[in-house]
């Protein structure tokens, strides 16, 4: 089609909606578009108008990219509005005298600020808040004002009040005729919370006030109210609502509503089939939509239909979420539904300025709507729950109380139906976002904006988009299963359950049942750890599948010698035992050092000497310290109340009790504990996998701490509990960890990855939410009861002792490669 033959679409108005319409139509192609805009600049982002006072320029707010109108498809006349429509000839006349023929005319004239008919409204210092020009005038006048006021406590009014605060006007008042702020969006209780927060921020609020007149000699000086009160004011911004710009339609004989608005059908068509109205000037099903998102939807409907599509506008969700002067305010669905039509759940925290209300259907199944003040984090999830009629969880209060279980939001996002509209500004569905992740590998919000435009409008859906990206990626990751290694296509947790269920006790059997190949250095120790967690049999019986150190029940060191660490529970040791350690170290020429876990490490032992060394240590009352195992290491203690003047309880005795309970228990990784006798925390228990700290009333139990390269403080699991409860919780915590963690994962990392985190763990351990508490206590007791010193088992068994040689064909010969040097009167391994 030649350009001249293309149908001409004239757009009256170049606001956000008119501009969106041009974008849509231009993209569809096949039209000549002529735009008349009243303002001197092309369309700009009116939603973020108040940012003009935060340093954003008019250019920053501009919507079209420079040069967008410089082609033959679209012509823009700025500073020139349509004056008259000749519906018979199908031409429009502009104020500047342009006569333009049209095939289709789209009225996108928007709205103007509603200015009530009050005496004195024409005085100097009275403004409206609508355009960049209005803002410029307000800005120019502000320096001479000390008492600024905004008439109207609705959404726009509060935005205007923020603008006045930003301009540094010393006292800013808001005058509202209704008994609450934002009467269209929030309820009285919500308003009370919002009022308290806004007052704290320096706003002065006047509710139930009707302005009788604006007083002053030429310039505004005060407001006179109907209740005979008066407020000195030297600047007034009127923000009392909007009035559709329908005068052009009126003049052309098109039908308008009694309170304004061009009457259109669901295709946004007026009685004249060639004329449409979209945005705030349109009256659809008796409604004026004063928000940008429904306006965009209208633009989309008309553009689509002009290009041959078939779309209707069937109403729009008026839910809103915004930050008003730093306070989150959100209203969604039916915020005012009240009993007996529904049941209402309300949460109020006056201290933090948070108010949340949700209205649920009488059968408790569906969410109808609600109000959020002070914390609107759950807004998008709640909105989607309303819009998609998602069935509510059994405890719907979790939706606004959050936290308890923690996984609520994550699960909620992914449970949305595919067609759920996530970004209403750009009409992007959940499916489109998920597709962008799976098919185009989009993995960030920024990339998503470029790819689907989701989140590029008001930006309110950004958190939801983020969660969807994460959720989709995670769901995709499930295809790459968490498996042990190439030999076992199961996770450690799955194998743990299988081993337990089928009572498998040898690696051979596990490999035959669930594996392939010969195993490797990854699966062998992992399965050995599972056997230890299930059956607690002497590990040397299956020495070949044990990890390097477990195989020889000692820690291999530089050069191939081993170190020996006897258990010293709680770090308490008698002088006699110290003497034995010294004697043994001297006899076998071992380097001695105090460890971080309050015991003594003896380095430099030949593999062949290990049984003899242990024989002497065991004879003196020592036992294995399991320093070589992924097992309980030490429970560090401070000296506690037996000696310390600050000590509240006997931390050493409790540490010994705990260490002796869990000694030898193998886990996915090593476990360290600590017990402190008071809040000074000298045992550094909070850096351990579990830490116990004495309180006036008992003990506080912390879990999931870690030293090492990525230090992390342990988190509080239970407060002021007695010893028995503490042990019970520890049993549960440790068994939960032992059963479910991946190989070589410390409790801190395990907890970080645990869905629902600490609150979930607390629920499982303290509230027994999985109903596993009793079983885990029994399992743990079985491990405790089957404890034995591994080294005693070796020392007393000549066959096992034979494994501790370097040359099997020359058992008494030591590795000649093993050499030492002298340092500070002791030996050290030769440098490699």
């Amino acid at each position: 089609m030649r350009h001249e033959d293309k149908p001409v679409v004239v757009v009256a108005g170049n606001g956000m909606v008119g501009h969106r319409f041009c974008e849509k139509l231009k993209a569809l192609g096949g039209f000549r578009i002529v735009v008349f805009g009243e303002e001197p600049r092309p369309a700009y982002d009116r939603v973020h108008l108040s940012e003009y006072f935060n340093g954003k320029s008019a250019a920053d707010l501009s919507l079209p990219i420079k040069g967008w109108f410089d082609d033959e498809e679209i012509i823009l006349h700025l500073g020139d509005a349509v004056r008259e429509i000749d519906r018979v000839q199908r031409v429009v006349h502009s104020y500047k005298g342009i006569i333009q023929r049209y095939d289709v005319l789209v009225l996108a004239t928007g709205s103007s600020a509603f200015v009530p008919d009050i005496s004195g409204i024409e005085k100097e210092g009275v403004f409206v808040y609508r355009t960049i020009e209005d803002l410029e005038r307000i800005k120019a006048y502000a320096p001479r004002a000390t008492n600024g006021a905004v008439m109207g406590g609705g959404l726009l009014g509060l935005e205007a009040a923020k603008a006045l605060l930003d301009l540094g006007i010393p006292r800013t008042h808001v005058i509202e005729f209704a008994s609450r702020l934002m009467p269209r969006q929030i309820d009285s209780a919500g308003s009370h919370t919002l009022e308290a927060s806004l007052r704290r921020l320096g706003l002065q609020l006047h509710l139930n006030k009707t302005t009788l007149s604006i007083e002053g000699a030429g310039r505004i000086e005060s407001l006179q109210f109907t209740d005979d009160t008066r407020l000195p004011v030297d600047m007034l911004v009127i923000s009392a609502g909007i009035r559709p710009r329908d005068e052009l339609a009126r003049l052309s004989g098109l039908a308008v509503g009694t309170r304004g608005g061009i009457i259109v059908n669901e295709r946004l068509q007026t009685a004249d089939k060639n004329i449409f109205a979209i945005g705030e000037c349109a009256l659809v099903q008796g409604m004026i939509y004063g928000l940008v998102a429904p306006g965009y939807e209208m633009a989309d409907v008309v553009a689509t239909n002009l290009a041959g599509g078939d779309k209707s506008f069937t109403g729009f969700d008026m839910s809103t979420k915004l930050k008003l002067i730093g306070v989150d305010v959100a209203s969604f669905g039916d915020p005012f539904a009240a009993e007996p039509d529904c049941r209402t759940i309300v949460f109020e925290d006056r201290h933090k300025g948070v108010y949340k209300r949700i209205n649920i259907s009488s059968d408790g199944k569906y969410l109808l709507g609600g109000v959020l003040i002070g914390d609107a984090g759950a807004y998008h999830l709640l909105l989607q729950t309303v819009n998609n009629r998602l069935v509510l969880p059994p405890d719907p209060e979790d939706l606004i109380l959050g936290g308890r279980g923690g996984a609520v939001e994550g699960a909620g996002v992914m449970s949305l139906p595919d067609e759920a509209l996530v970004c209403s500004c750009e009409s992007v569905s959940k499916a489109a976002i998920c597709r962008a992740v799976t098919e185009q590998s989009v993995s960030s919000v920024e990339a998503m904006k470029k790819c689907t435009r989701a989140g590029s409008g008001c930006g309110g859906c950004t958190p939801l988009v983020k969660d969807l990206i994460a959720g989709t990626m995670k769901a995709g990751g499930l295809y790459i299963r968490n498996i042990l290694c190439e030999h076992f296509e199961y996770s450690r947790q799955e194998l743990f359950d299988l081993v337990k269920l089928h009572e498998v006790r040898t690696f051979e059997e596990a490999l035959r049942q669930w594996g392939k190949g010969d195993g490797c250095e990854v699966c062998k120790p992992a399965i050995a750890s599972i056997f230890a967690g299930c059956w607690n049999e002497t590990i040397v019986k299956q020495a070949p599948i044990q990890d390097s150190n477990d195989r020889y029940l000692a820690n291999i060191q530089k050069g191939g010698s081993y170190s020996v660490v006897p258990r010293i529970p709680g770090g308490e040791v008698t002088p006699d035992k110290l003497i034995v350690l010294g004697k043994v170290a001297k006899k076998y020429n071992l380097y001695t050092k105090i460890t971080g876990g309050q015991r003594i490490d003896l380095f430099g032992a030949h593999v062949g000497d290990l049984p003899a060394i242990w024989e002497e240590l065991i004879a003196a009352g020592f036992e294995s310290g399991h320093a070589y195992g992924k097992a309980l290491r030490t429970v560090k203690s401070c000296v506690g109340s037996t000696w310390c003047r600050y000590g509240l309880h006997d931390s050493v005795s409790f540490a010994i009790e705990i260490e002796e309970r869990y000694r030898g228990i193998r886990a996915p990784h090593k476990i360290k504990g600590g017990v402190s006798g008071c809040i000074r925390e000298c045992a550094e228990a909070q850096s351990k996998d579990f830490g116990i700290i004495a309180t006036e009333k008992g003990w506080n139990l912390y879990v999931g701490g870690n030293g090492g390269s990525r230090p992390q403080h342990a988190q509080l699991l239970a407060v002021d509990i007695d010893k028995e409860t503490c042990v019970r919780y520890l049993d549960r915590f440790l068994m939960f960890y032992i059963r479910t963690a991946d190989p070589l994962t410390r409790t801190a990392t395990w907890l970080n990855k645990l869905e629902g985190g600490m609150s979930y763990l607390k629920n499982v351990v303290v509230n027994d939410s999985l109903g596993m508490g009793g079983q885990w206590e029994v399992d743990m007791q079985a491990l405790v009861d089957s404890y034995h010193c591994e080294w005693a088992a070796v020392v007393n068994n000549p066959e096992l002792r034979k494994q501790f040689v370097h040359f099997v064909n020359a058992p008494r010969k030591k590795d000649p490669g093993l050499q030492f040097e002298e340092m500070r009167g002791q030996v050290k391994a030769k440098e490699w």
């Binding site: 190439e486 070949p544 599948i545 195989r551 191939g560 099997v808």
Partner: protein, 115 residues
């Protein structure tokens, strides 16, 4: 070909733990012998791990890699792995270890050295 190999008696069969390894001293050299009991296969390599020059491979962990189940050994120090068939390092380094033929006769294990 067999003529070019000198076979030395290393140890008894039961001296090498099943699906594991042990070290023998042969002609002043440390040799690691590995016994894959499930497959009834034997392998021998130098005991020295070329990574940090430690006499350690015999104390490592045996296993297999890939669909072909290539037999391998992981050093206990830093888990460098080596093919027991070719001696090539399988964990991405440029190391190579020596391998030796092994035969078992009458309950005794023999390691072959090239003449």
């Amino acid at each position: 070909m067999d003529q070019n190999i000198k076979w030395l008696a290393a140890c008894r069969e039961e001296d090498i733990p099943a699906d594991s390894g042990a070290c023998v001293l042969l002609d002043g050299e440390q040799i690691a012998i590995f016994r894959f009991a499930r497959r009834a296969e034997w392998y021998a390599t130098q005991n020295r791990c070329p990574h940090k020059q430690q006499m350690s491979l015999a104390r490592g962990m045996t296993g297999s890699a890939g669909e072909a189940c290539e037999p391998k050994i992981a050093c206990p120090f830093h888990k460098k792995t080596f093919s027991l068939q070719t001696g090539a390092c399988l964990s991405g380094d440029d190391y190579q270890i020596r391998t030796y033929p092994v035969k078992v006769k009458g309950g005794r294990v023999y390691v072959g050295f090239a003449q």
